[in-house]
């Protein structure tokens, strides 16, 4: 292998691997079945390492419910990636950042102000709560127009589409 390439591989750019998860849901997008679509984007630094766009398996009655299910799936995938990176010998950051645009779901992982009656949602809620209490996930709220996982859930307008995919797919991004 040429010398220049081997040095590029040998020197890691970061000592501790920072992981960021963006998640979003488009509630009842499919007009035939009324199922929601989940979009998840996991970034290692600025590099997208995992993208996920899929219809949910259950029909949910509210945006909050479908966001909870998305959060559970995001956390499960995040756990898998943290484990994989540790097996590769990388030093993963103590906690990963999970960002979503639904404020009530984000707040309810930190504050006790919810009552969840359906079993699947209750399980999803406790999965999210466990991750935050154990300290390997730190949740945060961003505005819906700044969420890059938005275009994984629905068709967006061309200008918004360009803005959302810019940081990871364009050369002229910072």
């Amino acid at each position: 292998m040429p010398k220049s390439i081997s040095t590029k591989f040998a020197e890691p750019k970061v000592d501790i691997v920072p992981l960021t998860v963006f998640k979003d849901t488009s509630h009842a997008t499919c007009l035939n079945t009324r199922r929601s679509v989940i979009g998840i984007l996991i970034l290692l630094g600025n590099a997208p390492i995992f993208y996920y766009s899929k219809c949910q398996n259950t029909v949910e009655g509210s945006t909050y419910d479908s966001e909870l299910v998305a959060m559970r799936i995001a956390i499960e995938n995040l756990l898998g990636h943290r484990y994989k990176l540790r097996m590769m010998g990388m030093d993963v950051e103590k906690y990963s950042i999970l960002l979503g645009d639904n404020n009530s779901v984000i707040v309810n992982t930190q504050l006790p102000s919810s009552s969840i009656k359906k079993k699947n949602n209750s399980v999803a809620f406790h999965k999210a709560r466990e991750a935050v209490a154990a300290g390997y996930v730190r949740t945060g709220h961003i505005h819906g127009t700044e969420n890059p996982s938005d275009d994984l859930t629905k068709a967006v307008s061309p200008t918004e589409f360009c803005r959302l995919t810019e940081p990871t797919l364009y050369n002229n991004a910072v």
Binding site: M1, P2, I5, K8, P12, K13, V14, V17, P18, T20, C30, L31, N32, V37, G39, L41, L43, L44, G45, N46, A47, P48, Y51, S53, K54, C55, I97, L99, I106, V107, T109, Q110, L111, P112, A133, R138, T139, G140, H141, I142, D151, L152, T153, K154, A155, V156, S157, P158, E160, F161, C162, T165, T168, L169, Y170, N171, A173
Partner: protein
């Protein structure tokens, strides 16, 4: 033993070193070019430029145009397969559209074929987009973190939880 050289191309993926951002990139330019040429020849049409893979607020499931004939269904399924491989090669911008159109693989309609052609038109004219595997840290400016904790809301919560654990085993 001789080295295999700089990684450049594998299974349709173009692997390049980006000098400006100092990171590796993963693209599908070669694959997209060859597959667009093949589809233009097969359907005897020219792909048009669009700036997004699917119109905003477009619902392919509401389409009620004519059903495709079996020979066209095979072409439609081939097109969806090609799109799915492009997604695997890093083009996550078309992932939602591809998944939406793939639901009609068994019983596609004329409108679905046109939508798939639109996605290929988008890909053909935006083939240079690729994943920038840049591991430099992301900025968290302007993000509203919720760092309150359940136990912090109630000062004596931890003692209370300890008491429950003692009394209820």
């Amino acid at each position: 033993m001789k080295g295999v050289g700089t990684p450049e191309y594998y299974s349709g993926a173009d692997i390049e070193w980006d000098k400006r951002r100092q990171c590796w990139t993963l693209g599908a330019k070669t694959y997209i070019k060859s597959v667009c040429d093949r589809i233009e020849k097969l359907l005897e049409t020219s792909l048009k430029n669009t700036s997004s893979p699917l119109d905003a607020s477009d619902h392919p499931e509401m389409d009620d145009t004519d059903l495709l004939v079996p020979s066209e269904i095979a072409i439609y399924q081939m097109m969806i397969g090609c799109l799915q491989w492009a997604v695997t090669l890093g083009r996550y911008d078309i992932q939602d559209t591809t998944n939406t159109l793939a639901r009609f693989g068994q019983k596609p309609r004329d409108g679905h074929l046109k939508r798939a052609l639109r996605v290929f038109g988008y890909l053909k004219f935006h083939a240079r987009r690729k994943l920038y595997l840049d591991p430099s840290p992301i900025s968290y400016e302007g993000i509203d973190f919720k760092d309150e904790d359940w136990t912090e809301c109630y000062p004596d919560a931890e003692e209370y939880i300890d008491e429950i654990c003692r009394t209820e085993g």
